[in-house]
């Protein structure tokens, strides 16, 4: 009663309680009604992989070709058919063309932020950046919303990520490997791999010494959230270090030849291989960052000699491996960068920043593959109709695959109620 009667009943104490069902006046009863009406589906995916193409990948030379556009737009590459009827992609992605039934291509994704950091923040949070708010990355939200196993990190970045925990707080900071795995070699990961000649027996011994010495605050946990938290995280860290699960997941040399051979030898491929192993072991969210897309000059040379062949190897490997391991239905995959690139080719054979039209690839986790959703206009200068697909909707759809109600509200440390994806809606075609 009392203040709770107000629909704006915002109280300071509530600020600490993150994660109440909320959003546009949505009560729990409303939410359950929506669930019953089939408007909210429980997600199929239990994990997600986000491949972030840093720098802003061109849409026109990858997944949204315009062979009929004037020469100064169309570029050098030709489209090729894929195993999905009517879906065409760049000739430099031949392996992906053979598994196009496993993913959907979103075209005419569109926003207005042409600076790297702003566009990036938009695409990794699903919220248009605000100077006054530090939105959490998708992975931070996922690791908060989905519970996970004790002995593996819930949110891993290979080798690192622009995603931050933002206003959710450092508890949801990504675990960054800071390096990338090499083919066939055990992968040393900071904090998890055991190095310097230590043995598990020695680790257990020193842990016992710690237990014996760490007694000053014994009994004080109940009076101090900090002491309690330190104990909890310390125990979990020990679980991760001492159990084989994480170590083995990170060790790509343990993968079967049948799976390993699906991938190329380049860094991105090997990182994708690692991502499949982590997801298999129970990590909730893996994000990979793969740069080199800021092709202001030499766009075509760079793409055909490096970026596209590597991307082709890695993504085809990823989708196929997930499928073979029976993980594709449980794992949502998204591939995106901060923006597309100018349709008109500049005089350095490059393309510049262009957020009006871009692409996103999504697959797995119940997403219907083998289709193109949305479209850009004749020259790829903007969505073919309307405002196109917003980053908000792309990310909301990703949450949807994971069964996360993105209209749920958090409270920032300053007490402001903020929905997970503030203006997001599900792109329904992904699931039809």
């Amino acid at each position: 009663m009392a203040i709770n009667d107000f629909c704006d009943g915002v109280r300071r104490r509530d600020f600490l309680r993150l994660g109440m069902i909320g959003g546009a006046g949505l009560t729990l009863a409303d939410y359950l009604r929506r669930v019953e009406a089939g408007e909210v589906q429980t997600g199929k995916a239990t994990s997600a992989i986000y491949i972030y193409l840093a720098g802003g990948p061109t849409h026109l030379d990858t997944f949204d070709l315009k062979p009929n556009a004037p020469k100064e737009y169309r570029g050098e590459f030709n489209p090729i058919a894929t195993n999905a009827p009517g879906v065409e992609i760049s000739e430099h992605l031949p392996k992906l063309a053979k598994c196009a039934d496993k993913f959907a291509i979103l075209r005419g994704v569109s926003h207005t932020l042409a600076a790297h950091d702003l566009g990036t923040k938009y695409m990794i949070t699903g919220n248009r950046p605000l100077p006054s708010l530090d939105f959490p990355g998708v992975g931070a939200v996922v690791s908060k919303e989905l519970s996970g196993l004790r002995d593996i990190p819930p949110f891993v970045a290979i080798p690192n990520t622009p995603q931050v925990a933002g206003f959710l707080g450092v508890e949801y900071t990504p675990f960054s490997t800071t390096s990338t795995p090499r083919p066939g070699q055990p992968f040393s990961v900071r904090g998890i791999s055991i190095g310097r000649g230590l043995t598990i027996a020695e680790i257990e011994k020193r842990q016992n010494l710690l237990k014996g010495l760490d007694t000053t605050f014994r009994g004080f946990e109940k009076n101090s959230d900090l002491i309690n938290g330190l104990d909890r995280f310390s125990q979990r860290a020990y679980d991760i270090i001492s159990s084989p699960r994480s170590r083995e997941a990170f060790d790509i040399s343990r993968e079967s030849p049948g799976i390993t051979s699906l991938f190329g030898e380049n860094t991105l491929s090997q990182s994708c291989l690692l991502a499949t192993r982590l997801v298999e072991a129970g990590t909730r969210f893996v994000t990979l960052t793969y740069g080199g897309w800021d092709t202001h000059d030499q766009n075509f040379t760079k793409l055909k000699t490096k970026n596209l062949p590597e991307l082709d190897d890695a993504l085809a490997g990823l989708f196929t491996a997930l499928d073979r391991k029976g993980l594709l239905e449980k794992t949502a995959v998204i591939v995106a960068g901060e923006f597309g690139r100018t349709p008109k080719i500049n005089d350095r054979a490059g393309r510049d920043h262009y957020p009006r039209a871009m692409f996103t690839v999504m697959g797995g986790g119940g997403i219907k593959g083998g289709q193109v959703i949305g479209a850009s206009d004749d020259k790829g200068t903007g969505p073919a109709s309307g405002d196109g697909i917003s980053p908000d909707n792309v990310i909301a759809s990703l949450y949807h695959t994971l069964g996360i109600d993105f209209s749920k509200e958090y409270r920032t440390p300053t007490g402001r109620p903020v929905a997970i994806a503030r203006y997001g809606n599900v792109v329904k075609e992904l699931f039809s």
């Binding site: 009663m1 009392a2 203040i3 107000f6 629909c7 704006d8 009943g9 915002v10 109280r11 300071r12 104490r13 546009a24 006046g25 100077p131 006054s132 530090d134 990190p153 931050v164 206003f167 707080g169 450092v170 508890e171 900071t173 675990f175 800071t178 900071r190 904090g191 998890i192 055991i194 190095g195 310097r196 020695e202 020193r206 010494l209 710690l210 014996g212 010495l213 760490d214 000053t216 605050f217 009076n223 101090s224 900090l226 002491i227 938290g229 330190l230 104990d231 995280f233 310390s234 979990r236 860290a237 020990y238 991760i240 270090i241 000059d297 350095r348 440390p413 300053t414 007490g415 109620p417």
Partner: protein, 891 residues
């Protein structure tokens, strides 16, 4: 005094004969006045109708206050946009208000559920609320005409002392208007409790005691916010029963006065070892060294704590730690300073830091230091653009760069990339210097404070002329240099590189500059930009909670702002700083969170904060005075161990609160605990390689330390206007880092580190000494044998052998002398044989700044014994100590 210009339907007010009383008398609550069915009074839109709608919840953010509206009907969020709300209510064809047939008005039919309403039933038909809305419509549904200032909101009582749960007190809320009228608005005020476990308050203003402790209940009416403190003692140790607690300082007197009311008995003062560690970490972000611990524990002087505090305040680590804090607040990051000179943003960040460091180190008064940032311009008074760019390049050229910290002002606060627009400047400014969060008021009335959107716009007007770019008188010079370099458009990314190279070579580049562009001043020039959303009204700059300012007399609008901040009656400037300093020492502010000074979030001890602010200003904003005064109080020196009365207290400073070390301090503490003795001796003098030093603020790898660790432990990215960007919450990655990261493990075993020095290199030194000593013994025997042999030679043999033997003897003596000398020299330097007990004591002093207990010593000894290897034993002991909660926290 808060002056607020609002418009009041004075005419209607006076015409309504049912309104009782004159201006001096208290007007009865509208609830009583509108109880009779035949009420004739016409209520006022601002005074009655909108507050009532707020009270009914209509303009809440989940209802019609939502920016999308509800059912096509949108009100201003939390009210206060009278024009918009009136228009929304009277909009044609909506039938929200039907003047010729009031009964059909939707604002009467919907909330009574006469017709369906998604927001549910909000009031009864024929209730007083219903009549207020009805009479307003019948009276013509007028908006507001003549402005009358809302003066203040008064709530009675201002303090409630409960004895047990379930007791109740009814609040009375009175609105004071500038025309002298006072009205009881209890029934149309909104209420909130700051802690429902201590007191609840219902919608009529009835306060119910729930549990022990203290908090506030808050009343909101118009833009007034008033609070009542609610206290229920946690024990029966109140009044005469309260024990005698010493209050040696004024801080203690204020704190104990409050504790007495609460029946909370503070913890005793902590031990010397605890004090030394705590104050070293809080004041200098650094651990004490083992030698310092020993000396302090042995010192029998009664004033040793005072002496230690003075010693700490004189260290560069004090200046470094607090500079680092000020950099957090003012946004000194390479990312923020990347304004088209990518190659030198790290250097600019370093300069930002060093400029502040110099002033903190010399203890420049806080207001002067801040004025150097607030009033900064790139050029000195009277300086030409040409001279400015020469001076600016001189700071960044490779050869013999000029000292940036010599600059009188420091412009980089304003040139930040995230401080471009006047709005961003207003938000950043109020956050950094005033501890006030204005973000809410950017878009709507602040839900917990007095700020309206108009207040925000008027405050923002101060910043419109603050410009970073090319000043009009510099355009020609800029063009000249550009022509020399080449067309930026054609050069693309090349242009940047050329600029960077030119700067390194000491050549001119077209530097941008921070200047005051008075064409952008409110009411002048570019009218379209200034008038903003206010229709045709020109916005007059107004100080936050203060008066409007006429700028025509000044050339820089920031001057009156700075003058206002320095005033003794300024409610924010001094307090914001004091409160933040306090929060570092106590783990929470007197106002908490420390950067959220708003009327609904009052200080837990207002008298304490007022006293400190007054004295800080009287002491000429002397920062060291403030630090010394705080840490020499008993309150700061209390033990973290609690008793039954204070174990739940976190806001009245009755015991020390255990806190995780700040990221910078923690990174440095790992490095220092494991350092070799030579580095350890220098620890307090050297800030260059420290995480609290200038290098710690930069992007990229840092010598001797880790950006990764600092990030994982929550160092501020200095990107957002929130003290919470620096976090000392624990997380999984921190535990992984301390337990198993190669960086931590390598720090323990690093070359020239303590373990290396104590075991590995000690071993080899000892081995050398050992062999030298053996050689000396052997050579001594050989020499004496030779001497004997020579003495025993027969004359005949002498001829044959004497020369040979004597030369042999000489050689032996020479070798003996060399070896002896080496032994002499080595004996002073070679560590004594490995002594586990001694290592255990030092390990404790290095990490936990105390001696081990006998039980701890026993455990560690056992471990060494079992390990059977000094190096492994020592490695694991250090590892374990670095992973104790006692190491990770300040306590």
């Amino acid at each position: 005094m808060i002056h607020r210009f609002a418009t009041i339907g004075v005419a209607l007010f006076l015409a309504a004969s049912a309104v009782p009383g004159s201006a001096a008398e208290l007007i009865r609550p509208i609830q009583e006045r509108f109880a009779p069915e035949d009420v004739e009074e016409v209520p006022d839109f601002q005074r009655h109708v909108l507050p009532l709608m707020g009270r009914l919840g209509c303009n809440g953010r989940a209802c019609h206050g939502s920016f999308q509206g509800r059912g096509g009907f949108r009100l201003s969020l939390f009210g206060y946009d009278f024009k918009m709300d009136h228009e929304a209510l009277l909009k044609n064809d909506t039938k929200r208000v039907v003047r010729d047939n009031p009964d059909l008005s939707k604002i009467l039919q919907k909330p009574t559920l006469a017709i369906p309403h998604k927001g549910g039933k909000r009031m009864d038909e024929e209730s007083w609320q219903f009549r207020v809305l009805l009479r307003w419509i019948e009276g013509g549904a007028k908006s507001v005409d003549n402005p009358v200032a809302f003066e203040k909101l008064e709530v009675i009582p201002t303090e409630i002392q409960f004895q047990k749960p379930g007791e109740t007190v009814q609040l009375q809320v009175i609105a004071h208007w500038a025309d002298g009228t006072r009205e009881d608005v209890t029934c149309i005020t909104r209420y909130r409790t700051n802690d429902e476990s201590i007191a609840e308050i219902n919608e009529t203003g009835l306060v119910t005691s729930k549990g022990m402790g203290d908090s506030h209940v808050v009343a909101f009416y118009d833009n007034g916010v008033a609070v009542t403190q609610v206290i229920m003692p946690v024990s029966d140790l109140v009044g005469a029963k309260y024990p005698n607690v010493a209050t040696p300082t004024e801080i203690d007197r204020h704190i104990v006065t409050k504790l007495k009311k609460l029946g909370i008995v503070p913890s005793p003062v902590c031990s010397d070892a605890e004090f030394l560690r705590r104050v070293s970490l809080d004041m200098t972000g650094s651990l004490p060294t083992p030698a310092e611990v020993e000396a302090f524990l042995k010192d029998s002087s009664t004033t040793k704590r005072e002496a230690k505090v003075d010693e700490l305040l004189a260290r560069p680590t004090y200046a470094a730690f607090w500079t680092s804090k000020l950099c957090d607040l003012s946004g000194a990051s390479p990312k923020n300073l990347n304004v088209g000179m990518g190659g030198i943003t790290n250097e600019m960040t370093r300069h930002f830091y060093e400029w502040i460091f110099k002033r903190v180190n010399s203890n420049m008064p806080y207001d002067e230091l801040i004025a150097g940032m607030v009033l900064a311009t790139s050029r000195k008074p009277g300086e030409s653009y040409e001279d400015y760019i020469k001076a600016q390049t001189a700071y960044y050229r490779q050869k013999d760069p000029a000292d940036f910290s010599d600059r009188e002002t420091m412009p980089y606060f304003w040139t930040r990339r995230n401080l471009r627009t006047p709005d961003e400047k207003a938000l950043g400014f109020s956050y950094t210097f005033l501890g006030v969060r204005l973000e809410c008021a950017q878009c709507h009335k602040h839900p917990f404070d007095q700020w309206t959107q108009d207040d925000f716009k008027q405050f923002t007007a101060f910043f419109a002329p603050v410009t970073y770019g090319t000043a009009p008188d510099a355009r020609e010079a800029v063009k000249k240099i550009r022509d020399e370099i080449g067309d930026p458009k054609k050069l693309g990314g090349q242009y940047q590189r050329i600029l960077n190279t030119r700067v390194k070579e000491g050549k001119d580049v077209p530097w941008q500059e921070l200047f005051i562009n008075n064409n952008r001043r409110p009411g002048q020039g570019r009218p379209n930009q200034i008038k903003q959303a206010q229709g045709s009204r020109v916005i007059t700059p107004k100080l936050l909670g203060g008066e409007e300012v006429v700028l025509s007399g000044t050339d820089d609008p920031r001057k009156p702002l700075m003058d206002w901040m320095r005033r003794k009656d300024n409610p924010y400037f001094a307090k914001a700083f004091i409160n933040r300093v306090w929060a570092v020492y106590f783990g929470r502010g007197i106002i908490n969170p420390p950067d959220d000074m708003n009327l609904a979030n009052p200080p837990s001890n207002a008298a304490l904060l007022d006293m400190l602010a007054e004295q800080f200003i009287d002491h000429g904003f002397d920062m060291k005075w403030l630090h010394r005064t705080i840490v020499l109080s008993d309150a700061y020196q209390r033990s973290w161990q609690t008793n039954d009365t204070n174990k739940l207290d976190e806001r009245n400073f009755s015991h020390a609160i255990v806190r995780r070390l700040p990221a910078e301090a923690l990174v440095d503490a790992v490095a220092q605990s494991t350092a070799g003795s030579a580095d350890l001796d220098k620890a307090h003098g050297n800030v260059a390689d420290r995480a609290i030093g200038a290098t710690g603020s930069l992007a990229g790898a840092r010598k001797g330390g880790s950006n990764y660790a600092a990030k994982v432990f929550g160092r501020s990215e200095r990107e957002t206007n929130c003290d919470c960007s620096a976090s000392n919450e624990p997380n999984l990655l921190q535990s992984l880092y301390l337990q198993n990261d190669q960086e931590t493990l390598a720090a323990i075993e690093r070359r020239a580190g303590w373990l290396d020095e104590r075991v590995v290199s000690a071993k080899s030194k000892r081995a050398t000494l050992d062999s030298d000593e053996k050689a000396v013994a052997l050579l001594t025997v050989q020499a004496s044998a030779l001497e004997k042999k020579i003495g025993a030679l027969s004359d005949a043999d002498k001829e044959k052998q004497l020369d040979k033997l004597q030369s042999q003897l000489k050689k032996t003596h020479e070798e003996l002398a060399t070896r002896r000398k080496r032994v002499e020299e080595a004996k002073g330097n070679v560590p004594a044989a490995f002594d586990a007990d001694q290592v255990i004591v030092e390990a404790y002093e290095r990490t936990l700044s105390r001696r081990p207990s006998s039980a701890e010593t026993e455990l560690a000894r056992d471990y060494f014994r079992q390990a059977g290897d000094d190096a492994k034993g020592m490695r694991d002991l250090l590892w374990a100590l670095l992973n104790t909660k006692e190491f990770i926290t300040n306590h």
